[in-house]
């Protein structure tokens, strides 16, 4: 079940990808953290991209006001939710919380449009953890109207907020004088501008230690080298099978995802606040099962599968998995290595910390379709797990070289 790297078809994207490679060399000297990175790059943006940036950071676009895209996709925390104390994120109404862990926006532009690859026999690409949006623009239309997120009652509300915003002029400049006339098409344009912003080099810095290693500009320690070897070794970690670690044919730096979907057998997270939501929003309560891709394509063979995420910035973007079950890389690596070796925990609803203490792993949230071929019994020893984690830590953007 090796997935091949998928190329992105859009010519525009290809153009900007080359741009991104150049950026490895350009950005690092001045980059301290991702937040400053956004500021540093703004000057290079087109009008549409600038508009997208304004929209992305506008906290006025929720109902009630106060929540922007950037609230849960904060550039200072690698475009994930800065609140790491809960596995999922607050909505505009703070007592309403989503059922899924906020994904990182970085590198998402590389995901090809959602499609079924008949050669591989797999669903590939798309946006959201379950692929329910085919493209970035489709994705951008989601959170505004999600009652657990920005909670606007309808498109018109969002369009009206933009019409009154300080950047409304920019909107007209980009999309023409009649841009606001039709709420539906204006809403699509808002999404279009957001997608354009998310395609800018800001969202693909490629400035990790590993990128410098690949460019011949950073030295790996022996442990990091060993970790990389284990990561790629088919008889060991075999991680690269779904998280390719080599540059693509066209020169795109490794993206550490093949954009396929997989059920890793992740247990239910007892701390997922979604279970506490009123029955109006979660009628099943604790019986709620997240079907992932299966819920989108309505095929039981896809139940429990979620999109393979990039591993870039993995060391800084905890918690992990669709429900935020894992808080540590060590825990996740142990799960990959020992899921099918350790006994199943006797009780359900065991947290990561307790499972590690008890030497067991709880049963999967979705027991069908669990990938038992590529993980679960890797037999990694402590030294190997440490090496793997050391390698994963080299994938954090913003590395500074001495030269």
């Amino acid at each position: 079940m090796k997935h091949t790297q998928h190329q992105i078809n859009s010519a525009q994207l290809k153009f900007s990808m080359n741009w991104g490679i150049g950026l490895i060399f350009l950005t690092t000297a001045c980059v301290v953290n991702a937040g400053e990175l956004v500021a540093a790059k703004t000057s290079a943006l087109t009008a549409k991209e600038k508009l997208g940036q304004q929209l992305f950071f506008d906290t006025n676009l929720s109902t009630p006001v106060g929540q922007a895209c950037a609230s849960c996709h904060n550039p200072k925390t690698f475009f994930i939710d800065p609140d790491k104390n809960q596995p999922t994120s607050d909505g505009a109404l703070p007592h309403l919380k989503g059922n899924r862990n906020t994904p990182m926006v970085l590198y998402n532009a590389f995901s090809p449009p959602f499609h079924y690859d008949s050669k591989e026999g797999l669903y590939i690409g798309g946006q959201f953890l379950d692929g329910r949006a085919a493209t970035l623009a489709e994705q951008a239309k989601g959170p505004f109207l999600n009652p657990l997120e920005m909670a606007n009652p309808d498109k018109n509300t969002v369009v009206n907020k933009v019409r009154k915003a300080s950047y409304a002029k920019l909107f007209i400049q980009v999309y023409g004088t009649n841009a606001f006339n039709n709420a539906n098409s204006a809403y699509n344009k808002i999404a279009d501008a957001l997608a354009a912003f998310e395609r800018t080099p800001i969202f693909r810095p490629f400035t990790s230690k590993y990128d410098y290693f690949l460019a011949g500009k950073a030295k790996f320690t022996d442990q990091e080298k060993r970790g990389r070897q284990l990561f790629e070794d088919e008889n060991k970690g075999n991680c690269a099978a779904c998280h390719p670690s080599r540059p693509a044919e066209d020169g795109t730096p490794p993206l550490f995802t093949d954009f396929s979907y997989d059920n890793l057998g992740v247990p239910q997270n007892p701390n997922n606040p979604f279970y506490q939501l009123p029955s109006r929003l979660n009628p099943e309560g604790r019986k709620f099962v997240d079907k992932g891709l299966g819920g989108v394509v309505h095929e039981t063979a896809e139940n429990g599968k979620f999109k393979v995420p990039t591993l870039r910035n993995i060391a800084k973007t905890e918690p992990y998995m669709h429900n935020g079950y894992f808080k540590t890389l060590e825990g996740i690596t142990d799960f990959y290595s020992n899921r099918d070796i350790k006994p199943v925990c006797k009780k359900a609803w065991v947290t990561e910390a307790d499972a590690l203490k008890q030497g067991c792993w709880p049963k999967p949230e979705v027991t069908q379709n669990v990938n038992i071929n590529e993980l679960g019994e890797l037999n990694l020893n402590t030294e190997e797990i440490k090496a793997l984690v050391a390698f994963l830590k080299t994938l954090t953007d913003g590395y500074k070289t001495n030269n």
């Binding site: 410098y212 460019a215 011949g216 030295k219 790996f220 020169g251």
Partner: protein, 481 residues
Amino acid sequence: MNMIIKPLKHAILLACVSLTTPAYALDKPATMDEMWQVIRAQQKQIDELRNQHHAVEKSSNTDTPSSEPVATKSANTDVKNLERKTDVLSQEVEKLRTNLAIPEEAKYKSAYGLGPAASKIYAAGKGLSIGGYGQASYQAKVDDKGTESDNADLERIVLYAGYKFTDHILFNSEIEFEHGTTGEGAEEKGEVSVEFAALDFFINQKANIRAGLVLMPMGFINTIHEPPFYFGNNRPEVEQRIIPSTWREVGVGLFGELLPNLTYTTYVTNALNAKEFGSSGIREGRGSGTEAKAESFGYIARLDYAPPQIPGLSVGGSAYVGNSGQDQTFVGKKVDAFTQLYEGHLQWKYRGLEFRALGSWGSIGNADLLSQAKGEVIGSENFGWYTELGYDIMPHLFANSTQYLAPFFRYERLDTVAKAPGSIGVLADDPHQDWEIFQVGLQYKPIPNVVVKADYRNRVAKDENTNPLSDDFNLGFGFIF
């Protein structure tokens, strides 16, 4: 202009004429059917003659007795002659028939640098010639096993099929089945490959043409890899990782004997593909005739000399040059990736003693960009050499034996990243590619076509302390036919 064109025309004409001339006049029947027809016709003739003979006898009984002896005598001779002819033809038919199942004993002699079994077609008369070889082995990883497993492998079963159209044009090919099967799942390790498939046009002893999927004439093993003719179950690593045997490309070129005992081969082929180069060498960059990229060409030439003063000695060398970039981009840049590989070799076979030495050095241009694109270091230089010595002790054990028993020793030293393109990150040297191999073994041939091999290899990488190479014991057999 005319002065050049005229001789050229003549040469081409001569070449064409010599190529189209049949091997020999068709005075013999070519097929069994034809032969049967001839026999039948002759049988008919015999019967007719017999009848005539009887008729003559009858009439002579009634006629004058004086004429009898002459007529009978001549008829008798005719019949005898025809009967003898029929016998000869019957034998020929029988021979043809058995030849289909059991070919005449072939002379296993290397021709034009190919392996002895692969060379059968050159010694054959017109038509089809079948040959082949095979090898299987058991490999036990005896030390530094790591995650590797002991294994039992039907490494290769190979069929040579050659067809001689005329004395001047022939086709020869090698079809190889590797590792048992190409089935599903655990069985999918097997491969089927055409190792070579080429047409030879014999024009002149000094210049013959070969075109097709050709074996690159480098080193000992690439052109002669039949198991009875090298020591050990595994081919020398230098001739796998530095000279990437079995290396074959689609090309065309000349071969022949320039002077007595001085032979050469030279081809223009599609070039290697640098996208497939890696830390372990250029091996995966071979085109192998499988829709190989041919945006750039490779040039290869080889010379071998066997001085008549020293029987059993041959020395030679070869060179390959070509751009491996193949019009592809490497981290955004188009590069030549100019690739060179040179090799020199010496072999001496004398009274049971077999000695070989081979050294090879190569370089790869733009190795820095190639490494960055691949995500692993690709050496800007690589090298390897080995030497081996074996001695047939059978004559000392059993003076009259025709069998063969030779202990041997081989030492190899190779590094696919002899020079790294940089010193940091992915450009830095990979000590795991720097190898030293000590090998001892025993080679037993009950007959020259069949070999049983046992050997032990101690393989040492430069980073042996942290990332050792496995050592192995190998037991196997091989044969040619």
